[in-house]
Each structure stands twice: as structure tokens, then as C-alpha cells.
């Protein structure tokens, strides 16, 4: 019996990967993931030539931290997850193909889990790999010194932390946007609301800060990025969450949202006419 439901989830994954990977509709998500890799590669090629005023590994490390905070977390992974997860159900409603799933003897809860795992697979492969590649390419021009920085310095730990945060971001935002795709005809509107909330996070009181994904992700980042003036005067400081709170907390939020989505999926009707 256990094998049956596992085979069913595997069946959903096969179908979802077939439909999701390399789909033309999602070209911009690949662009979001590959953009910083391309920039890091250009940076490497440009910096390979000897020239005066060369910066240090520490400075490149800070550049990556800024890129990770302001591009990956706030833009790339955020909108990548909007594109991937909100379309898991919504796109099938628009294309009028969701009924094929609903006519199989698959528990709706398992359908939600299967689709979520498929989306998560794609999102983590894209954004964790992109994070790692960008990190490795950004300081590559330092040659042996950078290899030493990674293998014997803080580089490997930093890389591991960034990859973990990228994966957690996919888990957290993925569960939020999967739910949005089930509940809203146009998931862009709730996505914008979530984005505004996440962007306002540094300026919110400590209690409200904790009702967000970005707060926990920032707590796990290895390099802290100060808010630049003049916005820094409006920042309300809050103690970052320790790792043992941030990781289980994010996972718990994702599980709660998934359970809610699964319950809703059980009540969902196929009524394409009203879409």
C-alpha cells in the first residue's frame, strides 16, 4: 500500500518534470537563475587581465553578499518561485488539463505534495546551482588564492550557508506561492503583496518582522548587509533568529501552508468555465 502512494507521487513527478523542465513558458525563470552566473563569468574574464587597483577577495565576498541579499533573495528566487509554484495548479486550470489529475485515484493531498516536490526540485536545482556557480566564478580570477580561501578559509562555510539559504528560500516561498496559485485567479496580486511585506521587513517592529520569510533567511546569511543611508535611520533592529529557530521555523511554516493547500485542493472543483 505504501508503495502504491509512493508510485503515485513518482507518477506526478514524472509528469510535472516533463511539463515544467525546458518549458517555453518558463524561459524567464531560467534567465533569472542564469543572469548572475553570466555576470560573474564576465567579471571573471574581465578581471583575469592584470590591471592596477585590483580589489581583494574580501571585497568580492561582500559584493556576493550584496548580490545574494538584493538579487537572489528579493528578486531572483522570489519571482522564480512565483513563476514555478503559482503555476503548478493555476496553469493547469487555465490550460484546462487539471481534470486529468482529478480523474485519477490520487489523494488530492498527494497531488499537492507531488507538485510541490516537483516545483521544489526545479527551483532548488536552478537557484542553488546558480548561487554556487556565481559564488565560485566571482572570485575565480584570484586563482590559487581563491581556491585556498574556499578550501582552507571561510569560503566553503559561506558557500554552504548561501546554498542552504537559497534552498530554504525555495522551500518557504514555494509553499506560499503554491497556496496563492490555488486560491487566486491572478497570483501576481498576492505575490506583489508578499513582496511589499518582505521589502518592508527591515522597517517593521520586531514582532511583525518575524511574520515573514526574509527575516529568517537573513538570519542565516553568513555576511550581514547594512541598510544604506538614508533608509538606515528607519531601520528597527531586531535580534536575528538563531539557526536552530530559523530553519525549523521556516520548515514549519512551509508544512503548515502545504497542509492548508492540501485541504483546499480536496475541496477544489473543476470549473474551467469561471476561469
Amino acid at each position: 500500500m505504501n508503495q502504491a502512494w509512493m508510485r503515485q507521487i513518482a507518477g506526478v513527478l514524472r509528469l510535472e518534470f516533463k511539463k515544467t523542465f525546458f518549458s517555453k513558458r518558463g524561459w524567464w525563470i531560467y534567465l533569472l537563475a542564469l543572469g548572475p552566473v553570466a555576470i560573474a563569468a564576465i567579471h571573471w574574464l574581465f578581471e583575469m587581465r592584470p590591471h592596477p587597483g585590483r580589489h581583494s577577495i574580501g571585497e568580492d565576498s561582500m559584493v556576493f553578499a550584496v548580490l545574494f541579499h538584493f538579487y537572489y533573495l528579493r528578486l531572483g528566487i522570489f519571482f522564480g518561485c512565483v513563476g514555478i509554484f503559482s503555476n503548478l495548479f493555476r496553469a493547469e486550470m487555465l490550460e484546462k488539463t487539471l481534470h486529468y489529475y482529478y480523474l485519477t485515484p490520487l489523494r488530492r493531498e498527494l497531488l499537492v505534495v507531488g507538485k510541490y516536490i516537483a516545483g521544489l526540485g526545479l527551483a532548488t536545482i536552478l537557484f542553488v546551482a546558480s548561487t554556487a556557480l556565481t559564488f565560485l566564478l566571482l572570485g575565480r580570477h584570484f586563482g590559487a588564492a581563491y581556491t585556498d580561501y574556499i578550501l582552507h578559509g571561510p569560503g566553503l562555510n559561506q558557500l554552504g550557508s548561501y546554498m542552504l539559504v537559497a534552498a530554504l528560500a525555495c522551500i518557504g516561498y514555494g509553499s506560499v506561492f503554491l497556496m496563492c496559485g490555488l486560491f487566486f485567479r491572478n497570483p501576481i496580486i498576492p505575490a506583489m503583496v508578499v513582496m511589499v511585506w518582505e521589502e518592508l521587513n527591515p522597517f517593521l517592529p520586531a514582532v511583525l518582522k518575524k511574520i515573514s520569510v526574509i527575516f529568517y533567511l537573513k538570519s542565516l546569511c553568513p555576511v550581514e548587509i547594512p541598510i544604506p543611508p538614508p533608509f538606515n535611520v528607519m531601520v528597527i533592529d531586531a535580534e536575528p533568529s538563531p539557526m536552530w529557530v530559523a530553519i525549523p521555523g521556516l520548515l514549519a511554516v512551509a508544512v503548515i501552508l502545504l497542509i492548508y493547500s492540501a485541504i483546499s485542493a480536496r475541496q477544489t472543483e473543476i470549473n474551467y468555465g469561471s476561469e
Binding site: G11, R14, K18, L103, T104, E269
Partner: protein, 315 residues
């Protein structure tokens, strides 16, 4: 006993304030059952309800004893070929059937075997490696049918399954429905092509404006329509003489003689009395009668009597 029937008990379905179905009570036995009615009469709503795609606003539905709220059980027994002409992008015909069979939890070999059988049944084996998006409308219809029957369901629900099929494919598909129905399974078909409904149906359900107007075997339904005189076609050697003898009776309301001089079409308000009278007249007069057959106990006539042509139907 109820495990052999599809039952609707006081089922209503509203879309907001719009009526989909109202207080439907049905017991559908095995065999081929046709749903007949104009556009918007509730045929698709009825099918979507029994396959669990939508829920009733009130009432109870059981499909072979299983509630549609339990897709884990229901969908092993039910195959539904819906009217939605849409497919997941990029899949070939084979992949389309195979992939959804995998979601049933079957292993690779079983899914391949069932996919092949389903493709053969609808004559789509040769085209199965082409992407579904490149299929003609008729091919798409057949591949959807193959997908609906691939898991060998006990109940096959088909929404306008003959749309887009060429005459050869129509005839093959009708034969498939008959086989399915004769093997003790349920086949629920909606169609607006009434002469084809006549060919395949063991029973009909006539719907109008969300109400079940009539249900049962078509002859039985026809005999219930008392206000419309029954039409009977008699082929004999002296139709004029027969007409003059029969027309003296009160219950004969109309008699028409065919142009070939051998056909007599009669309309009677009392079929039982008519047949008794006819026997006597034939014996007395020594007429040579080739055939006697009801002329309006088909779905088309019953549809016209009960629902009428002014319903905006697509007939």
C-alpha cells in the same frame, strides 16, 4: 444491490444563482445510458457530479456504492472522457495515456501494456508517437477516449464522444460502447446526434433546464407520453382499404398513405385498442401485411414531444 447502480438522491447543483440541476432522482442500471437534452440542460453537470469533478449543492450521489468525494476509490472504477479538448503540452499520444496511468500507481510494464491495449481499441497505435498537439480533432477525441478506458473502468462516462469523428471511427466507437455496455458495465453517453443515441442506448435520460424530464427505456418513455398520439407505420397490399376501415374508430386521429401506395401511417391516441382492432380487421379483410412498426418510439420523437425544437437545441 445499490453497488450495481449509479444513484442520485434529490441532487441539486447551483452555480451561484444559476441552476445546473434541480432535485434529480435517478437510478442508472448497467448498460448504455444516454443523456439527451439541449445545450444548458444539465448533461455535463450530471456527468461532472458523478465523476466527482464538482460537488452537489445538496443531495447524495453514489457510484456503485462509492461517494464521489472519495476519488481514491471512485476513480479506479470510473473513466471520464470529458468535452475539454485540452492536453498537457509536449506529450505524445502514448505518453499522455501512459503518464496518467502511472499516477494510478501501476508499474511501468503494466502501464505500457494497458496503454498499448487502449491505443489499439481506438485505432491510434500508429499515431501514438506523435505529439497530441499535432493531432486532428477526431484523433484528439479518440486519444481522450483511450485515456478514459485505459484503466478498464466499470463506469465509462462520455461527454459528446462522437464529436469530430469520421463515419468509420463513429461506427467503431459505437461498437466499443455496445461491447462495454453488454459486458455488464455502465456506459453513460451524452450526445446530440439522436439517431446514434437510438442505436446505442439501453435507456435514456431526457434533461431540460436542469430537470430530468423522463428516464427509462425509450419505448417505455414514449408510451408515457399520452398527450401525443402514437404513430404506427403499416406496410400492406391495400392501404386505402385498411385506412377506411380503421378511420371509423375514434382513437384514430390521422391516416396518411405513402406515395408508393403500400405504406399507411396512422396516429392513434389509444395504441392498445388500435392493435386489437388491427388484428380483427386484418383477419376479416384478408389483407397481406408485410410489417407493422411504431414510427415514433425513437429518441428523436420523444425528444420533440417532451422538450421540443424550440429549446435552442443543437439537434
Amino acid at each position: 444491490m445499490s453497488d450495481q447502480f449509479i444513484t442520485f438522491e434529490d441532487v441539486s447543483r447551483f452555480y451561484g444563482e444559476v441552476l445546473g440541476l434541480n432535485r434529480v432522482n435517478l437510478t442508472i442500471p448497467p448498460g448504455v445510458t444516454s443523456l439527451v437534452g439541449p445545450n444548458g440542460s444539465g448533461k455535463t453537470t450530471l456527468m461532472n457530479l458523478m465523476t466527482g469533478l464538482i460537488r452537489p449543492t445538496q443531495g447524495v450521489i453514489r457510484v456503485l456504492g462509492v461517494a464521489p468525494t472519495h476519488p481514491e476509490k471512485l476513480c479506479r472504477m470510473v473513466g471520464y472522457c470529458s468535452q475539454f479538448d485540452a492536453f498537457p503540452k509536449g506529450l505524445t499520444g502514448f505518453q499522455f495515456i501512459y503518464s496518467y496511468l502511472r499516477v494510478f500507481g501501476m508499474d511501468d510494464a503494466e502501464c505500457r501494456r494497458r496503454t498499448q491495449i487502449a491505443l489499439e481499441r481506438v485505432n491510434m497505435t500508429e499515431a501514438s508517437n506523435r505529439v497530441v498537439g499535432a493531432y486532428s480533432k477526431g484523433m484528439r477525441q479518440r486519444i481522450r477516449l483511450a485515456q478514459a478506458i485505459a484503466h478498464e473502468p466499470q463506469v465509462l462516462v462520455l461527454d459528446e464522444p462522437l464529436n469530430g469523428l469520421d463515419p468509420m471511427a463513429r461506427s467503431e466507437t459505437i461498437a466499443l460502447f455496445r461491447d462495454w455496455g453488454h459486458s455488464g458495465k455502465h456506459v453513460i453517453v451524452s450526445s446530440h446526434i439522436l439517431h446514434e443515441v437510438d442505436k446505442i442506448s439501453d435507456q435514456v435520460i431526457l434533461l431540460s433546464h436542469g430537470y430530468v424530464v423522463a428516464e427509462g427505456q425509450i419505448q417505455g418513455v414514449r408510451s408515457e407520453v399520452k398527450e401525443q398520439p402514437m404513430q404506427i407505420l403499416i406496410r400492406c397490399d391495400r392501404p386505402h382499404e385498411l385506412a377506411s376501415r380503421l378511420f371509423m374508430q375514434d382513437h384514430i386521429v390521422e391516416a396518411k398513405i405513402g406515395t408508393d401506395g403500400r405504406n399507411l401511417l396512422l396516429r392513434t391516441s389509444d395504441a392498445d385498442s388500435f392493435y386489437l382492432l388491427l388484428n380483427r380487421v386484418i383477419l376479416d379483410s384478408g389483407l397481406e401485411v408485410e410489417s407493422i412498426a411504431p414510427a415514433d418510439d425513437d429518441v428523436n420523437s420523444v425528444y420533440q414531444y417532451l422538450i421540443g425544437a424550440g429549446e435552442g437545441s443543437t439537434l
